[in-house]
């Protein structure tokens, strides 16, 4: 364990120094992830006002709270691994990583955490400004915040494992654009980004229950807003754990078969 913490610390420092060089570019790339929740927050608030104050169980102030928390959850759980993995395999970059005496997922996790630490400097002031601009209906209880942080932590690893496992498909395809596009499109609807899950049509809600997207994003958000009953919270954590394990097993299996197939296409 001490061994791993030293390695992670080293990876983290390297990534932080590395990413600090690209701080301007990083801020620019965040605009989209900040703007999207603001867009849907505005759309749904407009709908709520047109209907005399509510859509389902959401008032404009609830939508504001929902999307501000969603912005934070999405920022902290997202990964860019699916965009780069096919490149890594196609160009033979993976060969270098394979030479190291440690599974390549560890440096990816450390790199992602370093990025989240760096961008916290932007995302929290943004969230606070949005708080004053949109006046969300959000109360803070110690207990809710604690369970929220736990759900956020599981969501991070769950999403990271699943996306890492899906990237490995590149061992067979070498180009993943089409698969990635499908994954992102599904995620847009089923994770609660276009609309809170309650507002989606019935059959789509069932699909959202079964797939991981909802448990990675909408669940922590609704938890923080205090919209979930005790049963729903327990169920949510159970689904998160299930998908976390599923992601872990997928990585183990696909990695073992995939690496054997890997022939360093580019080098």
């Amino acid at each position: 364990m001490r061994h791993y913490s030293a390695i992670y610390w080293a990876f983290l420092k390297i990534s932080l120094l590395n990413q600090f060089q690209y701080r301007a570019a990083m801020s620019i790339w965040m605009i989209g992830r900040i703007l999207e929740p603001i867009i849907y927050l505005t759309v749904w608030s407009t709908v709520a006002q047109a209907r005399g104050g509510h859509v389902g169980a959401y008032s404009p102030a609830d939508f504001a709270a929902y999307y501000i928390v969603l912005m934070i959850v999405n920022q902290f759980t997202f990964s860019w691994i699916m965009h780069i993995y096919d490149f890594r395999i196609r160009q033979g970059e993976l060969s270098n990583l394979l030479l190291k005496p440690i599974h390549p997922i560890h440096s990816d996790i450390a790199e992602n955490i370093a990025y989240k630490l760096m961008t916290a400097v932007i995302i929290f002031p943004t969230a606070i400004s949005l708080f004053f601009l949109f006046e969300p209906h959000l109360t803070f209880h110690i207990q809710t915040c604690a369970t929220f942080l736990l759900a956020l932590g599981i969501a991070f690893f769950m999403r990271f494992f699943i996306e890492w496992a899906l990237s490995l498909v590149a061992f067979w395809t070498t180009r993943n654009e089409a698969i990635n596009q499908m994954y992102f499109t599904l995620g847009l609807f089923l994770s609660g980004r276009i609309a809170p899950i309650d507002l989606l049509p019935g059959p789509i809600q069932l699909l959202a229950d079964a797939l991981p997207f909802r448990w990675a994003i909408a669940f922590p958000v609704e938890l923080m807003l205090g919209r979930l009953s005790q049963d729903q919270i327990v169920n949510g954590f159970a689904m998160q754990t299930l998908w976390l394990l599923a992601g872990f097993v997928m990585i183990k299996l696909i990695w073992r078969v995939g690496v054997k197939k890997y022939s360093a296409v580019g080098s």
Binding site: A25, W29, G32, V55, I194, A195
Partner: protein, 261 residues
């Protein structure tokens, strides 16, 4: 006439380049259709809960989506690839070759790259627009048609000038390809009418990143809610930006030293 011939030549070069990667056409088509499906599903979810959004009916927003896809398609067809190439050329010093050609450098840099497969977005956008108009009952006369064409052209020119100014910054700051991402991110906001956004965001989308004039204003013509003021503003801003970006470009070129040449 000379310029039209040149555009045609670059178009043909673009076509020849893309013909080498024919599978990409299907990847691009899949992407465009998925994007369209996503957008329409999003609209359906919102309009399942309401009849109007900030005074716009579903069919008006569909027309807006058509304009959004069309303009976005044109940007990705020629403006974005050409400007990226131009920034790359300045960085590497290969912009020399553009400058030495017996033709206006701004014109050449603006059309140098044409990504033919992006036409899928242009045509899908047109299709959505026409479908929305037919659904509405084609209630547009020659006056509206003319106003729409005017709004679309001035809006397009505003967008072009804006991109040109962003790209021209590369003469002073070499490594700023990422600045183009600002526009791409902000452009997403254009798929909904600008009027629903809070006032600060509306200002940003009108004057800082002029998405409003390229998408909302033309769509307003079609849904019959256009005020003459916004057409006049669009025309004036267009003239000003075309002029200003040209001046800025000339300033930039003076600064160009041919990095590696």
């Amino acid at each position: 006439m000379h310029h039209i011939k040149l555009i045609w030549i670059f178009f043909r070069i673009g076509m020849l380049n893309e013909m080498a990667y024919r599978v990409n056409f299907y990847v691009q088509l899949l992407q465009s259709v998925l994007n369209l499906g996503t957008a329409i599903a999003g609209l359906a979810i919102v309009f399942a809960h309401t009849d109007t959004l900030g005074g716009w009916q579903a069919v008006d927003i569909l027309a807006l989506l058509g304009v959004f896809m069309f303009v976005g398609g044109v940007i990705r067809l020629v403006i974005h690839p050409s400007m990226s190439q131009f920034m790359e050329d300045v960085r590497l010093g290969t912009f020399d070759y553009t400058l030495t050609k017996p033709c206006d450098a701004q014109f050449l840099a603006s059309i140098s790259q044409i990504r033919l497969w992006r036409l899928t977005d242009v045509f899908l956008g047109l299709g959505v627009l026409i479908a929305a108009l037919i659904y509405k009952g084609l209630g547009i006369g020659p006056r509206e048609a003319f106003a729409f064409a005017f709004a679309l052209c001035t809006g397009g020119a505003i967008i072009y000038s804006f991109w040109l100014m962003l790209a021209t910054l590369t003469f002073w700051f070499l490594r700023i390809e990422n600045i183009l991402v600002i526009f791409q991110s902000m452009y997403e906001a254009g798929r909904w009418p600008i009027g629903i956004y809070p006032i600060w965001l509306r200002y940003i989308l009108t004057f800082l990143v002029p998405v409003a004039f390229a998408i909302t204003v033309p769509a307003e013509v079609l849904s019959g809610r256009l005020t003459p003021e916004s057409l006049i503003t669009s025309g004036l801003l267009c003239a000003f930006l075309l002029f200003f970006s040209r001046w800025f470009w000339k300033r930039g070129i003076k600064n160009y030293a041919g990095a590696s040449a």
